[in-house]
Amino acid sequence: MQPLERRIFFILVLVAGLAWIGISADSSGTQTKSVAAPQVGFLAPDFTLKTPSGESFTLSAQRGHPVIVNLWATWCPPCRAEMPTIQKVYDEYKDQGLVVLGINATNQDNALAIAPFIDQYHLTFPILLDETGAVSQNYQLRSLPSSYFIGRDGVVRDAVIGGPMPEALLRAHIEELLK
């Protein structure tokens, strides 16, 4: 290609690029806050689950509070490793409105091991039992633990898949939620 032809080609490509930016400028395809999905920017999928003592918790009822949803199982080593850290930051931030919901993947866990686990780690935040696996399915659970950081408006702000979560990461995400 001759230099002049090349330059004309480059200019045409750049003009076409600008036109494409203008044509494809449309926010209608990027509206996500009304759709429920376990993805950053989407409404967190709602659920109602019971604690081992029979008390019910509904995620949508926590609106107005920053929420951490942590999916875990007793047999999962990283889940065990991060529990003391979650409890520590929960103690520190609960007065600022932080809600932590620890959802046990009961359908793939030993139900008898849950109560000793709670005692062993002195967990004071609500532990909820996902007996049917419906919540795990709605949250597309592929790795344990998985944690979702949900804003006061019910929208997922961050997700940490796998663990254990370092304390600084937890704090950084909580600070973002509290802003």
Partner: protein, 253 residues
């Protein structure tokens, strides 16, 4: 098939795909180094130092951004978690270290970038595969036969588009005469990648919008594309001037 792939390479296992792609890219870059008469070991070291700077820079920049959180748990600084990472800081650190190392090792700037181009192209394929596995990015709603049902409706399979584009660009790098002058291979790759980003970003459902409804990544891609064109023209002009000088200084028979 897609579900099986996603389960097998669920995060953080998706990083295996990026590492494999990087390894393939490194092997190809070594071959390019031999072709351009560059020191193969220096290229290996450049990538190694760049990688170390990327990893460390990402962690350090993240810690600097969240200093009070790290002050309360300093041990987090050496955590294995890949979430404590600032990708922009990581990239800046890698570029600075690679540039300084390249200068000290007397590596010619543009030919080194040409040598590294297969590495970048292979890495783009690895990133594409990783995006498919982690399933975090998603397309706009679409009524096309090849759409995939995800997040409540049929959407453009944006990860597949990105992967196909990166595979196509990777293949184009092996066209003859593409690296006729220093820098042309790298700039061609940069221009093609920016053009693909500019085009396919329109089908992203998770774009960051600026100035109203404009997609930030498209604007950035256009700037990169324009820069690649300007640099390409500049290098070609220098190359042509040098060729003319050589022609004039060669005695006619």
């Amino acid at each position: 098939m897609l579900a099986l792939f996603r389960n097998f390479f669920a995060p953080p296992r998706d990083l295996i795909l990026v590492v494999l792609a990087a390894w393939l890219g490194l092997s190809l870059s070594e071959r390019r180094a031999t072709r351009y008469n560059l020191n193969k070991d220096a290229i290996d070291n450049l990538i190694l130092f760049g990688f170390v700077a990327y990893v460390m820079g990402g962690r350090v920049f993240y810690a600097l951004e969240h200093l009070p959180d790290f002050a309360q748990s300093p041990l987090s600084l050496i955590s294995f978690s890949i979430d404590l990472f600032d990708p922009i800081g990581a990239l800046a650190a890698a570029l600075i270290v690679a540039f300084v190392f390249g200068r000290r090792a007397n590596l010619p700037f543009w030919r080194t970038l040409d040598t590294l181009t297969p590495f970048f192209a292979a890495l783009a394929i690895g990133m594409g595969l990783s995006h498919i596995a982690e399933n975090r990015i998603f397309g706009t709603p679409a009524n096309v036969p090849w759409g995939i049902y995800t997040l409540d409706q049929t959407r453009h399979p944006i990860q597949i588009y990105e992967l196909l584009a990166s595979l196509l660009i990777f293949g184009l790098l092996w066209l003859p005469n593409l690296d006729s002058s220093p820098g042309s291979l790298f700039l061609t790759f940069t221009a093609l990648t920016a053009a693909a980003q500019l085009f396919f970003e329109a089908f992203h459902g998770d774009s960051t919008l600026v100035f109203g409804d404009f997609r930030l990544n498209q604007i950035l891609a256009w700037i990169v594309l324009a820069t690649a064109f300007v640099l390409y023209e500049w290098l070609r002009t220098i190359h042509e001037q040098e060729s003319n000088v050589l022609d004039r200084s060669t005695p006619r028979q």
